[in-house]
């Protein structure tokens, strides 16, 4: 619908901020300082029996640990139509958090454009849309693209 502005909403609440620039909403173990993502779905540290986790915005930049794609349309609950374009996916190392976080790579970057160790940053992209809303997810974008 040209001329209309759809509302930008997260495809799932509570995993990333809609700020500019956006951040992943992770968790930080209060007792030890260890991180996790998503905040409430991380594995517990057996050395921190209390297990209390506070919200922590994760680093926006990291280095590609590895990458691949999904050449065929993933099954539901992934949402796709007949115009499926292969999704590129990267696992990204965050230095401060010492952890690897998965995510789509922002189009138009494909596996041919990526290499292990490449620096990427967090952006938001549209996963799918309906008449009213654009449903967003986080994506990794090579830092030398677009800025």
């Amino acid at each position: 619908m040209p001329g209309t502005t759809k509302k930008r909403v997260p495809a799932v609440e509570g995993l990333f901020t809609l700020d500019e620039p956006p951040h992943l909403i992770g968790g930080r173990l209060i007792e030890t300082g260890g991180y996790c993502f998503p905040k409430d779905l991380g594995g517990a540290d057996p050395g921190a029996p209390d297990g209390a986790v506070e919200e922590a915005l994760l680093s926006r930049r990291g280095k590609i640990w590895s990458f691949t794609n999904s050449a065929y349309p993933p099954p539901p609950p992934f949402v796709s139509d007949e115009h499926y374009e292969p999704v590129t996916i990267a696992a990204v190392e965050l230095d401060e958090e010492s952890m690897v976080v998965l995510g789509q790579v922002a189009p138009p970057s494909s596996v041919d454009d990526l290499s292990v160790g490449m620096e990427v940053e967090l952006v938001l992209g549209t996963l799918y849309e309906d008449d009213d809303n654009q449903y967003l997810t986080w994506q990794w974008r090579p830092v030398d693209v677009g800025d």
């Binding site: 495809a11 609440e13 640990w65 998965l102």
Partner: protein, 395 residues
């Protein structure tokens, strides 16, 4: 660790048969009982490996198989640990035998699988990481296999040709396996010409899903001897380990690894710890092993297992493969059955199928895929959500 005897093994051939999973399980169970020359009514305990894709009868698999064979009053349990379910069911049976609850147990797993990607159950479940990875990233199982394959290329110089060679080798093995679903021999060009699924992996390098069933009859060593089996094939070690926090390797179904910022990761990674547990229980080491059956969900993953089981040092798997060491006739054959690439995955049956193959091999009954002089074999496998699975079988 005390050992138990494997008196009989049996399988229903893998395929896309479209029948009820119970049929495959009962077929495999009867084959294992025949192999053991044992009447079903002798079985004191039935250990079922659960399927989650076949409704309620799948959730109570042990009871479903027991009823289909004819209820005898035997005790029963059912176990689920994804791809590791078969090993879990075997471990439960071992516990019952070694604690004296029963003398002889039947372990069965079978599945009827849908076509296409394995996917989460229906319904919106944003608090389930398995649901989130599909919905928000489109990260199917092959996506994780692709990530690890690419990482291997980066760290160890693996090539696409190496990955293809794993498929070529295993397809050559499977030609001689009547229980395998795919028995055609593939060449490097066949692999290279198949479509990419998750770069760098192609369709022929990623395991599909299949129908199939596998069963074991296991017993105490005393019971085996009482039946005149003086030198039975034995289960000498079983591993059901979980990872140790923090696990720094991204794996399905998670969106992120643990963080290593506050705690240093253990020296051994999760998958190394699977084999280490099996070796520790059996008092044996990689140098003692004559063959291995490993979970080649992808061609590249087979190479990882060579190192994780200690068959070679880290970074040497490609050399082992290229030298033909892991082919039948080589120094340490891997997946003489043809592996998952030739079978396709029948989740609750797969870890038991590995034990069936090891048993036939160490008995010297593997026909044209026989590993000469095999006496000790190890299996390795891993279930979603942190389930290690490994079994050591010896004569």
């Amino acid at each position: 660790m005390d050992e138990i005897a494997i008196l009989g093994v049996g399988m229903h051939p893998w395929g896309k048969w479209g029948r009820n999973f119970t049929d495959y399980g009962v077929h495999a169970a009867r084959a294992a009982l025949d192999d053991a020359d044992l009447d079903w009514r002798e079985v004191g305990f039935v250990s079922g490996a659960i399927t989650v894709r076949c409704g309620y009868p799948g959730y109570v698999a042990g009871s479903t198989f027991a009823r289909a064979l004819g209820f005898t009053g035997a005790q029963v349990a059912s176990s689920y640990s994804a791809c590791a379910s078969g090993a879990t069911a075997l471990a439960v049976a071992r516990g019952q035998i070694l604690s004296g609850v029963c003398d002889v147990a039947l372990v069965v797993g079978a599945d009827t699988t849908p076509d296409g990607f394995l996917a989460p159950n229906e319904g919106r479940r944003p608090d389930d990481t398995d649901w989130l990875r599909f919905h928000l990233v489109g990260a199917t199982n092959p996506v994780y296999f692709g990530l690890h394959a690419r990482r291997r290329m980066e760290l160890h110089g693996a090539t696409r040709e190496d990955f293809a060679l794993v498929k070529v080798k295993n397809s050559r093995h499977a030609v001689h396996n009547p229980n395998a679903r795919f028995t055609k021999e593939f060449g490097p060009d066949d692999v290279a010409n198949s479509p990419v699924v998750s770069d760098p992996l192609r369709l022929l390098e990623i395991c599909t899903t299949s129908d199939g069933g596998a069963a074991l009859v296991v017993a105490s060593m005393d019971y085996a001897r009482s039946r005149g089996v003086t030198d039975p094939v034995r289960v000498a070690g079983i591993s059901l380990v979980t990872p140790t926090y923090p696990d720094p390797v991204i794996d399905l179904p998670y969106l992120a690894t643990d963080s290593s910022s506050a705690v240093v990761p253990a020296e051994k990674g999760f998958k190394e710890s699977i084999g280490a547990q099996v070796y520790a229980e059996s008092g044996l080491g990689p140098e003692d092993v004559d063959l291995a059956e490993v979970y080649d969900l992808s061609s590249a993953m087979e190479l990882d297992w060579y190192e994780q089981l200690g068959l070679c040092s880290e970074g040497e798997a490609e050399g082992l493969l290229r030298a033909g060491d892991t082919s039948i006739g080589g120094r340490i054959p891997v997946n003489p059955s043809g592996g998952l690439g030739a079978f396709g995955e029948a989740v609750p049956a797969q870890a038991l199928a590995q034990v069936c193959e090891l048993t036939w091999q160490v008995r010297g009954e593997a026909g044209r895929r026989q590993v000469e002089g095999a006496r000790i074999g190890i299996s390795a496998n891993q279930g979603l959500f942190g389930h290690g699975s490994g079994v050591l079988v010896r004569r």
